[in-house]
Symmetry: C2
Subunit: 80 residues, 2 copies
């Protein structure tokens, strides 16, 4: 996985999850330092609908497997 590519892809995510993975919006999860395997699993679940969320679903549907691995690597690399 390519964390630098994930960082670029994360521009959209930053609106809710923070530029450094620290969510500014109450009730939104912090992602900085989260397990990459967990983050990737959740993005795939949002993408295939097995985890349902009206906001995350369309965002995740736009992601390739590589995008997901890169995003997960980027967030895992940040200090929590």
């Amino acid at each position: 996985a390519d964390a630098a590519a994930g960082k670029e892809k994360a521009m959209v995510c930053a609106a809710c999850h923070g530029v450094e993975g620290k969510a500014m919006i109450p009730g939104y999860p912090h992602l900085a330092g989260q397990s990459a395997q967990y983050t990737a699993k959740q993005l795939k679940a949002f993408r295939d609908g097995s985890r349902s969320d009206p906001l995350m679903a369309p965002l995740a549907k736009a992601l390739s497997d590589a995008d997901i691995e890169n995003l997960a690597a980027w967030y895992a690399s940040l200090s929590p």
Copy 2:
């Protein structure tokens, strides 16, 4: 919410999410420092089935609203 009560209730959670909210099992989420509002929302979603997980569902079904608020407060209080 009562973080100290949450700590006691979290004995079961610790098996997968770590005694201090740092998951030792790959692919399991770290919970230390996570937004209390987010953690509570997810526990309620596991409890009512709107977020589906074969492991979390039965665990969450055993929790009262107060348990959930206390657990969420406990994990939010830990340093990530």
